[in-house]
């Protein structure tokens, strides 16, 4: 009898030890991954507080002497004209987000709530468009922008950024599918116009979808580099990405200054992420799982 109990105890202990070991390995893997995810950013962060002399003489991983040395930030802010770049990027983000939200929600409303000839065709046109990789068409898109006189025009860039977007339409389509049609039916019976139904009843109800689209689209546009570089060549229309890219000119290899610029550009993304973490995660999923 006692033999059996010791055997059971041994098995239990072994199982427990095995679980503890696995658990330990899991934490180790997570911590290692987080270390790798943070190390590149962390090293830029610490470097951004180093003076020129300190940067030249100390190792990259040495911590700065003075954590409150913001002179690199001041220098990159003024010499790199970052305020202007932030304002340009902010206006692009605001306009593109508003246009995308309006276009996406309006088209989704029409496609979801009305049956008309061409409804299926429009859906298919957008569906097929997603199969053509946008990256392949950069060459001819440039020619079209050129012919339209939209090179070096902030409006042209905004139109391009809003016009090549299918994801927000899908997010809204999905959202409208789950919005009860009884609401708008009764409104129409009471004499509300379709415009009224959309603007006064449905649009306010799609607020979660609007936030999702705004966050995803906003971050995407804020970080966009390729088109900004191609279509906004004049120095007066530098976005954050193109301004950042130009730093390798004046600041050469003074990475302590460049890192300050890099850190400044991360702040808006970080703030938006911390505020809208749930929407960011949900948006990624809803934008991908179902079309």
């Amino acid at each position: 009898m006692s033999n059996v109990t010791t055997a059971v105890r041994d098995i239990n202990r072994n199982a427990k030890m095995k679980r503890a070991l696995i658990k330990g390995l899991e934490y180790f893997a997570l911590l290692l991954a987080c270390f790798i995810a943070l190390l590149p950013i962390w090293s830029s962060f610490t470097t951004s507080f180093k003076s020129a002399e300190e940067y030249a003489t100390t190792n990259a991983m040495t911590l700065p002497k003075n954590w409150l040395n913001f002179s690199n930030y001041a220098q990159v802010w003024t010499e790199g004209e970052m305020l202007r770049a932030f304002l340009t990027s902010a206006s692009v983000v605001v306009v593109v987000v508003m246009v995308s939200v309006m276009m996406g929600s309006m088209l989704a409303y029409v496609l979801n709530r009305f049956r008309f000839p061409g409804n299926g065709l429009i859906r298919n046109l957008f569906m097929i468009a997603t199969l053509i990789p946008g990256i392949a068409m950069q060459v001819t898109t440039y020619q079209i922008m050129k012919n339209l006189g939209l090179l070096n025009s902030i409006a042209g860039y905004m139109i391009l950024m809003s016009g090549t977007d299918v994801i927000s339409i899908y997010i809204f389509l999905q959202y409208f599918e789950n919005l009860d049609g009884a609401l708008d039916e009764s409104a129409v019976l009471e004499g509300c116009t379709y415009f009224g139904v959309f603007f006064r009843i449905l649009l306010p109800l799609t607020k979660p979808a609007i936030i999702t689209v705004a966050v995803l689209k906003g971050v995407g546009v804020y970080n966009e580099y390729y088109s900004a570089n191609l279509y906004l060549q004049s120095n007066s229309w530098r976005t954050i990405s193109t301004a950042l890219y130009s730093f390798s000119g004046p600041f050469k290899s003074s990475y302590n200054i460049i890192c300050a610029g890099v850190l400044l550009t991360l702040i808006p993304s970080l703030v938006v992420f911390l505020l809208f973490q749930k929407q960011v995660y949900a948006g990624l999923a809803s934008g991908s799982v179902k079309g």
């Binding site: 899991e26 893997a29 997570l30 991954a33 995810a37 190390l39 590149p40 950013i41 090293s43 830029s44 190792n59 990259a60 276009m103 996406g104 309006m106 409303y109 029409v110 709530r113 009305f114 049956r115 429009i122 046109l125 468009a129 997603t130 199969l131 053509i132 990789p133 990256i135 392949a136 068409m137 950069q138 060459v139 001819t140 898109t141 020619q143 050129k146 139109i159 016009g163 090549t164 299918v166 039916e185 129409v188 415009f195 970080n223 580099y225 390729y226 990405s241 950042l244 990475y255 460049i258 890099v262 991360l266 970080l270 960011v280 995660y281 999923a285 934008g287 991908s288 799982v289 179902k290």
Partner: protein, 320 residues
């Protein structure tokens, strides 16, 4: 479901409802116009230009398949295409890691799992140019990476120049891509795992299934749609890889120029638009080929559900 058909009596349906027509036209015309302008017109032009010898300003006429032939006969272009194999290998590792961390974070009781998730995800939101500087600094001789490796006992002399040495530099660039996208893939996996009915695990535990068996029998089938989506995205992303080599690798210096960088240079530096369009056509054909091949493969292997095809496409657009 149509409002009109349910709200209005049959008699009135024959009359055209002008308000309805107006709302449809007004709400759909702008997005449709932009779709044509920035997707279908460029596509048609791309097909047309790929058969011409032309620049942005001059068209020297139809040249048949000349542009296409050049792509496959010059080793420079074939080499650039083969570079995407590095990115594909990276994509496989990235997916495996993403799945591993997604399973740990969703299935185990991890203290502070939200914090781990956020930290691993954040690189996805970092500006591409910022990533360029961060990693140029990271890889510089004797700087961040070298210091860490020295700290664990590897002498500096035995370390390569991460961005200059052609035997490692493409791997260095691939790593930046894995660094950026791994957390994003992980979040998608976590979302998919969360949608699996939790009672399935309980039942499996009662039946005595271990973690690995649970993973194979419950999780993998439950997330196959998202898994496939991620896989297709990573592979097509590998084919059109551009940012790491452009930004970290100084516009594809030292043999890191991917096929897309070649297209960009062909069009905007050499001004050979016809040639660039032919290259873009090849890129597109490759991407479609891989997408369809994978879809067929998965349909055959896993009897997969519908919708993934569209879903993949949305994501691809979003990422670009």
């Amino acid at each position: 479901m149509s409002i009109v058909s349910t709200v209005q009596p049959d008699l009135r349906r024959k009359r055209i409802n002008w308000q309805k027509v107006l709302v449809i036209v007004l709400f759909a015309i702008v997005p449709l116009f932009l779709l044509m302008l920035f997707t279908y017109v460029p596509f048609a032009k791309m097909v047309q230009f790929s058969f011409h010898n032309m620049s942005y300003t001059k068209d020297k006429g139809f040249v048949g398949f000349d542009n296409y032939l050049k792509i496959f006969t010059k080793s420079e272009y074939v080499g650039a295409m083969l570079l995407s194999l590095y990115y594909m290998a990276g994509a496989v590792v990235q997916l495996a890691l993403a799945l591993l961390f997604a399973s740990i974070l969703s299935l185990e009781k991890i203290r502070g799992s939200g914090v781990y998730k956020a930290i691993l995800f954040f690189p996805f939101l970092v500006n591409g140019i910022a990533i360029g500087y961060i990693f140029k600094y990271f890889y510089t001789r004797g700087f961040v990476l070298d210091s860490v490796l020295q700290a664990i006992g590897i002498p500096l002399e035995s370390l390569p120049y991460w961005l200059r040495d052609q035997s490692v530099n493409n791997w260095s660039l691939v790593f930046t891509s894995v660094w950026k996208y791994c957390g994003q893939n992980m979040v998608l996996f976590i979302g998919a795992i969360a949608s699996i009915d939790p009672t399935l695990y309980e039942a499996a535990t009662i039946d005595g299934a271990n973690r690995w068996q649970q993973f194979k029998a419950i999780i993998l089938p439950g997330i196959k749609t998202v898994f496939m989506l991620n896989l297709i995205l990573s592979i097509t992303g590998s084919l059109s890889a551009f940012e790491p080599a452009y930004v970290v690798g100084s516009m594809g210096a030292n043999g890191t120029a991917t096929f897309f960088i070649k297209i960009h240079q062909m069009a905007h530096v050499s001004q050979k638009v016809g040639q660039a369009c032919a290259m873009a056509m090849v890129l597109m054909a490759l991407i479609l080929l891989f997408t369809v091949a994978q879809r067929l493969f998965f349909r055959y292997v896993m009897k997969d559900s519908e919708n993934t095809f569209n879903a993949k496409a949305n994501k691809a657009k979003a990422l670009w």
